[in-house]
Symmetry: C2
Subunit: 435 residues, 2 copies
């Protein structure tokens, strides 16, 4: 076996890149033992080479602005710049020149994954992205490899730490979303522009990656129905509590079987009522957790930190060791598996349970009219709870939990409720899972 | 690529073997897609071929009593017979003849793992054993591969479902161990001879496997200090509850650093007080969970079913797909990694916190005498709680929680307490973790 060091190129040197570099430098002997060959950072592409980066532990001479040249001469390229371009072009160039690739770039995978997989396959290199979903939690490899002999039926994941922090805080303190969001921004749990998190776009890209691996089907981010948390009110959280539930933003990927045995997928992100007894309900703060149901293994849960420099570096370095080992032994890990090619259901055909809160006048006949609307759409009511009539407007809150129904049937039900004289307002409609 | 089917040999056809066979038969197309070659069960070694096994879905002609011939002509051998011999000889023969091997046999790995690893390395085949620890939970591969760039500092695992069922039941109902054990036997959660579970031997073999993978060091079952749950009383559980704790049988594997920066390992199995707020405390019934602390990833937890035919089959089939893929591509997975070769500390040098319950007469000066004993051994007291004096014998229960101390210092402390006139009985000594 050659003893030449494996050449590692880093693209980007922010928090994660610095943690990755530091670890590789400080634990060089350990990495050499695990890879069975020394590994060496031959270059780090950055925008500004004049900025001192002592915390990386790297010699200043390895920093370069010429990422293009760097990726043409590496054994493994680690991409931590984020965004679509130039990350995509650089990864494609790297693979075309024989480098294996490690990335944490969920946006790129969600948008153009298949092109990356195909390039990896064509050039016989590895494409790893464990860090792209649920940060430090070893999740994608278990899903892709360990459960490869099983059949995943359903995944429910808390995969966005920012929104979990916000919803958990709202649940604990009763505060309004805007207040908690502002606090999350102060603490660094939410970005100045929180759109990608609170609108669910981040979770959507991760749902696409999870569904692709679990169901052997190409799922792009835009295939995933997505609803964020901005409309969740302190009242919603309070109502959830009364029902013994918490509100979580879940990425849900499930195999759906129709009566003829045909299979399809429902992949969606939305705020969801989860019973407090469910393992996902006790995931607090900015932690992530992914709950998997499979035919043989039953229920399995993975829990840990979803973000942060060190946790993300842990996942990146695990991939790096694996890709480097393969370079040493001349093998490669499993590539894309999309043989099942299942159709993806539109949200309207997704089936779930709902909790609907409406404001109604407290007078005889109202309940009959309301329940008739549900019956007319074939939506079966599981329970109904009427609050106390308020003295100011004479209205009472009615909370209705349904049995499983399609999103389309529910939408028609809500439309009709809105037209009903007896319904003053439809205050909220939330999906329920894990019951 | 050749399209000849890969030849799979099963050794044993009990609950797990039947579930494995059934899945391979019923989902042949799926396995062919995932492996990129058809897989075929060419033989199943059993003691009695005349016994009908329709639930396996296999043709009766594949059953054989000639395991020796079977393993000489297979691509992948799946060993589910358990015990040391003939399993060991058959696996060695299989690997010598070029077959990769999948096993759930923790006893064999705990006793003679290195010989198996060396044979696998020598013949360039895979040796996988995901099912040997925590059944369905994808755990060993994440530990070995996903965390390969990180540094595991500590593992605390509930890896024996039987004892967790018993301790959880005792906590919920206040019943005595003997009663709950009898019930567990009736329900099939405990065997007629429960020794391996309740004495901690099963957990000990699993601790050895976890420590070997996490710390790149050979650890055999007999290197692991082991204490079972038979001495745990309803009073212990009640006292734990008063301290805000539950009692769990934990497999603990930790990296220990001394003042000079030298590293060693402490690997042990014992009943442990765990605070109710710790994620491991909410692992109920016969479920398993493994909590890992590592330098970069922080805290990660894996949770799921630890035993049962289908869950174990899930892990076995994941290994089988991986080994079969490697046969198709001519590669192999990571072999044994024992480069760190860390020394294993004797239990006397393990450092942990303790909760000690003693019976003392309620008279002046007793507390001073008792605390002097601790001080004399350098064991620092964290808290002390005295119960109400009982009218029948004039004694009161004193519960003392210590700061971290070595097992040796604690043992000397307990010896001296026993000699003290002021101490009527040392009722129990339990270790505390996760605080």
């Amino acid at each position: 076996m050659s003893n030449d060091a494996l050449r590692i190129a880093l693209l980007g040197c922010g928090t994660v890149g610095t943690a990755v570099a530091r670890r590789l430098v400080d634990h060089a002997d350990e990495f050499a033992s695990r890879v069975e060959r020394p590994v060496e950072i031959t270059g780090v592409a950055v925008r500004d080479t004049s900025k001192p980066r002592p915390e990386s532990g790297l010699d200043p001479s390895v920093f370069t602005t010429d990422a293009e040249a760097l990726v043409r001469d590496a054994d493994v390229v680690v991409e931590l710049m984020g965004g679509i371009e130039p990350a995509r072009s650089l990864l494609l160039t790297a693979m075309e020149h024989g480098a294996s690739v490690v990335t944490a770039n969920k946006a790129l995978l969600g948008e153009d994954g298949p092109r990356l997989y195909e390039t990896a396959a064509e050039h016989g290199v590895d494409l790893y992205y464990e860090a792209s979903v649920a940060g430090a939690i070893p999740l994608l490899r278990p899903l892709q490899v360990s459960l490869a002999g099983d059949s995943v039926e359903r995944i429910m994941g808390i995969v966005n730490g920012t929104t979990n922090f916000i919803l958990d805080k709202m649940d604990r303190t009763g505060e309004a979303l805007d207040d908690v969001l502002a606090e999350a921004q102060e603490l660094g749990y939410a970005e100045a522009d929180p759109t990608a998190d609170v609108e669910g776009y981040d979770a959507r890209a991760k749902a696409a990656i999870l569904a692709s691996l679990a169901f052997h089907t190409r799922v792009a981010a835009l295939d995933v129905s997505c609803e964020g948390i901005m409309s969740i009110t302190a009242d919603d959280i309070r109502a959830a509590r009364k029902m013994g539930c918490v509100v979580k933003l879940l990425a849900i990927c499930e195999r759906v079987r129709n009566g003829r045995g045909d299979q399809s997928l429902s992949v969606r992100v939305h705020p969801t009522l989860v019973p407090r007894s469910h393992p996902l309900a006790s995931v607090h703060d900015a932690f992530n957790a992914v709950f998997i149901e499979s035919a043989l293994a039953g229920e399995v849960m993975f829990y840990g930190q979803g973000a942060g420099g060190d946790p993300t570096a842990s996942a990146v370095l695990g991939d790096l060791v694996q890709a480097a080992r393969h370079k040493v032994t001349g093998s490669r890990g499993p590539g894309e598996s999309a043989y099942a090619d299942l159709p993806i259901l539109p949200l309207s055909q997704a089936t779930t349970r709902y909790a609907i809160r409406i404001e109604v006048p407290d007078r005889p006949g109202v309940l009959a009219h309301v329940t008739n609307v549900f019956a007319g759409q074939g939506v079966s009511i599981e329970s109904m709870r009427q609050g106390v009539r308020r003295s100011d407007d004479g209205l009472a809150t009615l909370t209705i939990a349904t049995h499983a129904a399609t999103d389309a049937a529910l939408a028609r039900t809500v439309d009709q409720l809105r037209l009903l004289d007896d319904v003053s307002t439809v205050t909220s409609v939330l999906r329920m899972e894990g019951i």
